[in-house]
Chain length 369, copies 2
Amino acid sequence: MTAISTHIVPIELGERSYKIHIGTGLIADASTFQNLPKASSVMVVSNTTVAPVYARQLLTALSQPYATVHLVELPDGEQHKNWETLNLIFDALLGHACDRKTLVVALGGGVVGDMAGFAAACFMRGVPFVQIPTTLLSQVDSSVGGKTGINHPMGKNMVGAFYQPLQVVCDIDTLSSLPQREISAGLAEIIKYGPIADMEFFTWIERNIDALLQRDASALAYAIRRSCEIKAHVVGQDEREGGLRAILNFGHTFGHAIEAGMGYGAWLHGEAVGCGMVMAAQLSHQLGLIDSAFVDRLRTLIVRAGLKVAGPVLDAKDNAGRYLELMRHDKKAEAGEIRFVVINESSQASMQTAPDAMVRNVIDMCCTP
Amino acid sequence: MTAISTHIVPIELGERSYKIHIGTGLIADASTFQNLPKASSVMVVSNTTVAPVYARQLLTALSQPYATVHLVELPDGEQHKNWETLNLIFDALLGHACDRKTLVVALGGGVVGDMAGFAAACFMRGVPFVQIPTTLLSQVDSSVGGKTGINHPMGKNMVGAFYQPLQVVCDIDTLSSLPQREISAGLAEIIKYGPIADMEFFTWIERNIDALLQRDASALAYAIRRSCEIKAHVVGQDEREGGLRAILNFGHTFGHAIEAGMGYGAWLHGEAVGCGMVMAAQLSHQLGLIDSAFVDRLRTLIVRAGLKVAGPVLDAKDNAGRYLELMRHDKKAEAGEIRFVVINESSQASMQTAPDAMVRNVIDMCCTP
């Protein structure tokens, strides 16, 4: 990638504040890690796909400030985001006699970050944590918010913790080895920040979608930076997801139903969110909040990003019923009532319930038979 | 038990402040729970020993403010304080479609409290939690501090979270069904607060040890209250165990070695701490901090409480070496250096390292061949 200058996004969370470094060549540069606390050891958590490509340069950079640097490689994939895999991290930490000051560093996508972060939150009731997201999705999504966790057979991310990292490093170089499908999946979460918060940014994405797909370093860096800024602004007002923060889940209620219904891993999270946003926009239209032209505009951009806009059929007999059933089990549901994130024309998002008949209608309209 | 008036100990932790209710007849009294947040459901977590005795009256009291009350019974014992058992709680919560506002109530001893609290901390990244400790040890120890967690095959409480309850209810009535061995184990933690913080309280325990052993409600209520007050004072200054809070681990470094070396469950935690305090006092004496008369005074009280004061032999060939090995793996160790809590004549406790030869000598003196 063409080298670009590093940009820092500060995340203001009182005593849990930290900085996101966005740039090129960051992983291999020991100075990236110069302001972290002292410790006798570091545990880098990665997976069998990412570690062979990036672990060596990271371990070399970390071995300047830290005496002992360990690596644990997890199996790759959402289907491994469970207790058994999490326990591999605990086994490694205890097997290497790590202590309460050991720094845990996540090197990988969202699954690695969620599991390494949850392990850091729980190991000896909390050790320091640094996140190096290596996918576009995790750079714009997991960099801010402190959400960590694992899946349960009965639901995604059902077991976890809010745990803030000491630092996040978004090295654009890592995106060069990413499959195109994952670039598109990441763009879904980037596009999301338009309708819920900033239509100027949405227009910028429309103009720059080709540069982003071609992995132009400057375009990617700007998109990551702006996404992190918007998310930070929302999270800063609602760290523990009491209310406002829920708007970040635009497209996620339908998206989670797609992920769960297809079996975790069949659709990438970003792909499900991309399709889920079209469904949530359609619902917003049915509720009279936006006109159909905006639904079309959003759908067009999602298609240009290389993403699917038609929902999968989850049940041949009662497809809408299956979606509803899955959505009622969503974490955001309360007492079985589904709370949808809807949008209006002024890029304001809000939480709303909707009649089952209307939701069924939206699902029928948006799913390919 | 003779009814006594309820005493409230406030625990001041900013926005995480809560109250400990100490008294008789509390579990069966719906007014005990009148100030808790609204929720559509409650999940009571107990075990197969405690639930048959106390669950029904608790469920009845809770069903006044709450529409739906569920119960999950865990297998009883420290050997079940692991992920498999924790997962029974998640299975129950998800199986009953519980949500983010569901109140988790722990009804049982330290193991139930630690697991229910950790489940509450992790379920959907945190749901409200109430603790009803039913053993003397958990009433004086788990009521304050917010420590939750499970064991790992390589160490006790290695995986967990700091998570504060909304309320703690210490119902003295529950102590009437406790085996005598567990009364003694609880007294070990009560005795602990003397040498580390309050020798007047120590003298009070010496005078009232027989009443405590005979389960006099007033004596127990005072001992629980004073223990919680002292612990609250320490924890209030150091919620996350940065420094001062470590003095609460007086006797625990040796004690954990006994528990781990004998296999968890062979010695009760309080029994191991009782014996560990004698060893830690002996070490304090060797370091010149207290005279031998105080070691004898502490040993005498621990014997009167019905506890063992001679450490078990963990390895016939190199017993002291085995203790040292186990202590180096303790959570409080840093880079393999063991940090002991030692005491001086003015009931001030501090953290200190000690030469291996001195520690070996203490172990040799204190263990029965």
